[in-house]
């Protein structure tokens, strides 16, 4: 979001409290949503539940196109639409709900750095596996992405998106990597997260922050999504404290409130 737009949104946000009818939009859960989008969506849902803010999840086939920035998920609150975790955190902060107020400067720096680590490594790895690994693309991604559309639109859109993601991978230097190397990177990232978490219940002590929401979103999705092989899932499973972390958050924030 541009600076001016952000300032405007913050001002508008501060004016009203969080309404009861806030909705979160994402693609269809059963047959359309992809790994990376599902991870981002769970991250936002976890964050909002941690803040105690009520939100309804609505699945729409064209969620990607409704979103103001083109990314999933986005929330519709009052008369504003905000997408992606970063802006949503700012938005809820403007309304007076924040999870990271209790952190000091050094901890906040670490939190931001680890969030970037997850975005840089885990999210990119998810995108790579789902769009640049031929087996996954042909067996899973292409038919899921184009599910709501008829032939030939489903193929055209899928190829277009694949081409776009491939260009991005080349730009950031991941173009020449093999899937094995990407799995290694995921392991490295999980190891770093596992080290940081240690034996604490959350990353910064006893209370969750947006970093916990983000990590939960990604790890939970990897652990529960069926891909062509279980390599990715196994790599994450080898870190037991991360597994119990995901389970704990799922039980605390999702099971009790789910209908």
């Amino acid at each position: 979001m541009s600076l001016a737009a952000e300032a405007f949104v913050s001002q508008m946000a501060a004016a009203e409290p969080w309404p009861e009818n806030a909705t979160l939009y994402q693609p269809l859960k059963e047959d359309q949503i992809l790994l990376s989008d599902s991870a981002s969506s769970f991250a936002v849902q976890a964050y909002l539940r941690m803040c105690g803010l009520p939100v309804q999840v609505v699945c729409r086939a064209n969620a990607e196109y409704m979103s103001p920035s083109g990314k999933i998920p986005f929330i519709h609150v009052g008369n504003q639409v905000v997408s992606e975790l970063g802006p949503i955190v700012q938005f809820s902060k403007a309304k007076g709900h924040s999870l990271s107020d209790g952190l000091d400067d050094v901890q906040r720096a670490e939190m931001k750095a680890y969030m970037e680590l997850v975005n840089n490594m885990l999210l990119t790895a998810e995108l790579f596996v789902q769009w640049c690994d031929e087996t996954t693309v042909s067996q899973i991604t292409r038919c899921r992405y184009g599910k709501p559309y008829s032939w030939p639109l489903n193929l055209i859109l899928a190829y277009q998106k694949q081409w776009e993601v491939r260009r991005k991978m080349n730009a950031i230097g991941w173009g020449g990597k093999t899937v094995e190397q990407v799995y290694e990177d995921v392991s490295q990232c999980c190891q770093a997260l596992s080290q940081r978490l240690g034996t604490q219940p959350f990353f910064f002590g006893k209370h969750p922050t947006e970093l916990d929401a983000l990590v939960f979103g990604h790890l939970f999705t990897i652990l529960t999504t069926q891909l062509t092989n279980t390599e990715l899932m196994d790599r994450v499973k080898s870190y037991s404290n991360l597994l119990s972390f995901c389970r704990r958050i799922e039980q605390t924030y999702f099971d009790s409130k789910d209908s």
């Binding site: 050094v106 950031i172 230097g173």
Partner: protein, 322 residues
């Protein structure tokens, strides 16, 4: 004994061993880990084994281009600057490196390659002056389009253009990142104690060009200068690990601007202009004399008292020509 590994990197300037961030990261890491590298500073990316710089040729003739791959290779050769780090410090390294890649790198690309004044006055000029003929005509332009493409893909916006709003957004992220790095560094000499690690190499590689290169639009430099601990950190590394390059930079300040700032920096401009004018005048005069358009007459003393006859003059001319 196998041949040592070779590193091809961009030349240096402004007191730095190299002008490119990636090259600086690899050079710094090699110095920290004590790796014996044969460094070849070139200005022609087509001469590098991979077509781009930095390029690392191992003793087994394999070529690596990504900085992370090069550092992993050096670690495998037992040149590990992160040996003393605890597991948590290693994790923090990874996190802060990601932070810099996401927040600081786009602003660097913008400041050096996309911002119009900076690109025309500094970046393009530097590359055009240092590259060999005929690459200097088209390669800087091509590099700029590549960097713009990269920035567009990083930001996820296909229609990104240089502009004030984009600049504000990128620089805001970059200043926030620099503040976070400054907070993490605190008053320590290096990020993890007394000996430098790979995170120090990455931070140095990103911040040194901002600190040393004098850009017309220098907002990033201003902000960096206000963070004393980061400024001292960079200067410290230059002093300790790159003394030769640092000294050259200090003795040679940014080239003195001529009075007319827009003029190209051609030496002895006035003298050359005067010489060219004289040569042209001489050529024209000799042509005129030789073809008879102008002639020099020797007028006798008596003839000066009366106005000369036009016929007399014509006959004198004929005599003169003959």
């Amino acid at each position: 004994m196998a041949a040592p590994d070779e590193l091809f990197c961009w030349e240096g300037d402004w007191g730095l061993p190299s002008v490119s961030t990636d090259c600086l990261v690899v050079l710094a890491y090699a110095q920290f880990a004590g790796a014996p590298l044969k460094v070849r500073k070139i200005c022609n990316p087509w001469r590098s084994p991979s077509g781009s710089l930095p390029a690392f040729r191992t003793s087994q003739k394999e070529t690596l281009s990504r900085t992370s791959d090069i550092i992993i290779h050096l670690r495998k050769q037992k040149f590990n600057a992160d040996y003393d780090l605890s597991a948590k410090e290693g994790a923090d390294s990874l996190a802060f490196i990601s932070l810099m890649e996401e927040k600081l790198r786009p602003a660097l690309i913008y400041a050096f390659w996309i911002e119009p004044k900076n690109y025309v006055d500094v970046t393009r000029r530097w590359f055009a002056e240092h590259m060999p003929f005929p690459l200097n005509f088209f390669l800087p332009g091509r590099m700029q389009s590549q960097q713009l493409e990269k920035l567009r893909l990083l930001q996820g916006d296909e229609r990104l253009e240089a502009g004030e709003e984009l600049e504000k957004e990128l620089f805001r992220d970059a200043t926030e990142c620099m503040d976070l790095l400054s907070q993490r560094l605190g008053s320590q000499k290096f990020f993890f104690g007394d000996s430098p690690s790979s995170l120090d190499a990455y931070v140095f590689g990103h911040l040194a060009p901002i600190l040393r290169c004098k850009l017309p639009n220098g907002k990033l430099q201003q902000h960096l200068r206000s963070l004393d601990n980061l400024t001292n950190f960079c200067s410290n590394i230059l002093l300790l690990y790159f003394p030769r390059d640092g000294r050259d930079g200090c003795s040679q300040k940014s080239p003195p601007q001529p009075e007319a700032g827009d003029f190209d920096n051609v030496p002895n401009k006035r003298r050359k202009q005067l010489l060219s004018a004289l040569v042209a005048l001489g050529a024209m005069l000799s042509y005129a004399l030789l073809t008879g358009i102008v002639s020099i007459q020797h007028i006798q003393q008596e003839a000066l008292e009366e106005p000369p006859d036009p016929e007399d003059i014509r006959s004198h001319e004929e005599e003169g020509d003959g």
